[in-house]
Symmetry: C2
Subunit: 330 residues, 2 copies
């Protein structure tokens, strides 16, 4: 039995967060109210979008409150229930992460369907990251068989799923990642080419890998990558804008030299969030479940151990410290 | 009877074009081939997109060739025909502008339908500029009744049509223009508010004019205006990207501080060209013809006189020298 501690946001980061912004505090373990359940968390997720919630700015999710437990994706087991809808031992996904135990109304906890997958997949390819890849590529960017797809942060949690979904759907895929090891893994996932953005400018590398240009760009980073995609977009190219991690900490300072090509090439850009497509989750579970079962979509995780490691795991997202999904195992 | 001279591009401009880039030269008047016609031009159009054709870069239209007559929208009268499809006196629209006379296969000339409009409307609200406004607003940006629409260069040829179409369709419209006189005209066209970008930064002015934010942005200029639109876009906002005149001469050097809002607000950007919608011209002629007849859409022109004035008219586009459509009358 673990303890009952939670990470609080103690001050709002300026630029890149530091350990001083966070504090691990004991939570009171109050008796459950009627209709509530208590969950012991087993896996906690860290994701780039959490950086936005550390600012005091209204975005698509409200900001974290100061000196309150932070939130995020988590998978855990029900240890106590005063709701007819959950029983002890149920495996649930929920958003009360950054803590060892979560107590809340039963509706806050989603019981997972009995698919033969590892528990942490519900935070990965079958969770927010896999769903983001699936809906961004196939819905926001309307990618289809035969398209030439470029994806940034291709060794990351979302990007590696994009690479594999694109391959499973008969597209050509070029992935960008930082360093030779990550690029090797991107190729192993099935990418036709991998670009090492740490080895030199993106544009000439992308031009060599995609001499005919690109039809789809899945953007996780913004900045130089987005500009290279503008430069090499073919007519009627579609960009799914999922993240701009380059700019989360500093604001965008990139000068988009090729943004004018939006007009000549009739480029469409579409920002999206996973939750825009909740009505289509059945499609996602069916297809992604099938690909995981067949081995078409594999996962890799970078796992930190113990609640104490949460800030390190989170900060690692911004230094390129992960291959695949970054997780904390309790 | 005028002469037969044509403006040639003599050198490719670096940045803003100057008179030295152009030369007015006599054209030979050769006998007509079978199936050809000769047209005496009466009105010539200058448009911002022509700047792109002066670069030696493949775009949506091929570059102008050096020491050849340039091209552009023109309205003229058939003066000689060796085609059964055209006869002397026919009013035609065609793309062999920048010259006094044009000789070409009859297919190059489009006979205008007999609508009760002034001849130069075929270069304006019933031509490329009106069509660009119509299709950009209603198709590319999918603007609909009740939307809050922001349009830049609202006193220009395309922008002033956007303002009036938006009003005719029951939208709220905020237009941006340079100077008090142009802003007054934008209001006269029916805009709910006009912003003077020369009087101060765009963002605070737009925020005051659109305290609830915007649903649609019709972009003619890029740069600071586009960034202000990112800053104030509401959820599911749509941007029609028509032009980036701020950047045609210098390349974009703007830093888009608010581009990240594409994600949180699920903004859609779509680049487009008038010719993408040729299949829907019947809708355009019907609706726009009706609005012109009813007075819902008015036009204003800035007219230069004589073939010699073409470069001045063209350069005036980049110094804010026109209100409404810039034309040269021969």
């Amino acid at each position: 039995m673990s303890g009952n501690r939670a990470w609080h946001l103690m001050s709002r980061p300026q630029g890149l967060p530091t350990h001083e912004n966070f504090a691990l505090k004991a939570q009171p373990t109050a008796p459950l109210q009627d209709g509530w359940a208590r969950v012991e968390n087993k896996w906690l997720s860290v994701d780039p979008y959490m950086r936005g919630r550390m600012n005091d700015v209204k975005s698509y999710v409200p900001p974290f409150q100061l000196d309150e437990p932070m939130q995020g994706g988590a998978v855990g087991t029900v240890v106590e229930s005063r709701s007819p809808n959950l029983k002890e031992g149920d495996l649930v996904f929920h958003m009360l992460g950054w803590r060892e135990q979560a107590a809340a109304p039963a509706e806050a906890f989603n019981k997972m369907p009995p698919l033969p997958v590892a528990e942490h997949e519900w935070l990965g390819n079958l969770g927010l990251t896999g769903g983001t890849a699936y809906f961004g590529l196939l819905r926001a960017a309307q990618a289809k068989e035969g398209d030439i797809v470029f994806v940034s942060a291709a060794a990351g949690a979302v990007g590696s799923a994009v690479v594999q979904i694109a391959r499973a759907k008969g597209m050509t895929v070029i992935g960008s990642a930082g360093g030779a090891d990550k690029c090797a893994w991107v190729r192993e996932l099935g990418a036709d080419a991998a670009i090492d953005y740490k080895a030199g400018p993106v544009l000439p590398q992308l031009q060599a890998a995609a001499p005919k240009g690109i039809d789809v760009y899945f953007d996780n980073v913004g900045g130089e990558h987005l500009d290279a995609a503008f430069a090499l977009a073919r007519q009627n190219a579609r960009f799914a804008i999922c993240g701009m991690i380059d700019d989360y900490n500093k604001g965008s300072t990139h000068q988009f030299r090729f943004i004018m090509r939006i007009i000549a090439m009739r480029i469409m850009l579409k920002g999206f969030i996973y939750t825009d497509y909740l009505a289509e989750m059945a499609d996602f579970y069916r297809e992604m479940g099938g690909w995981i079962a067949s081995g078409a979509v594999k996962s890799r995780e970078t796992v930190h151990e113990g609640i104490e490691a949460m800030p390190d795991a989170f900060l690692g997202l911004f230094s390129g410290g992960n291959t695949g999904k970054m997780l904390v195992k309790l």
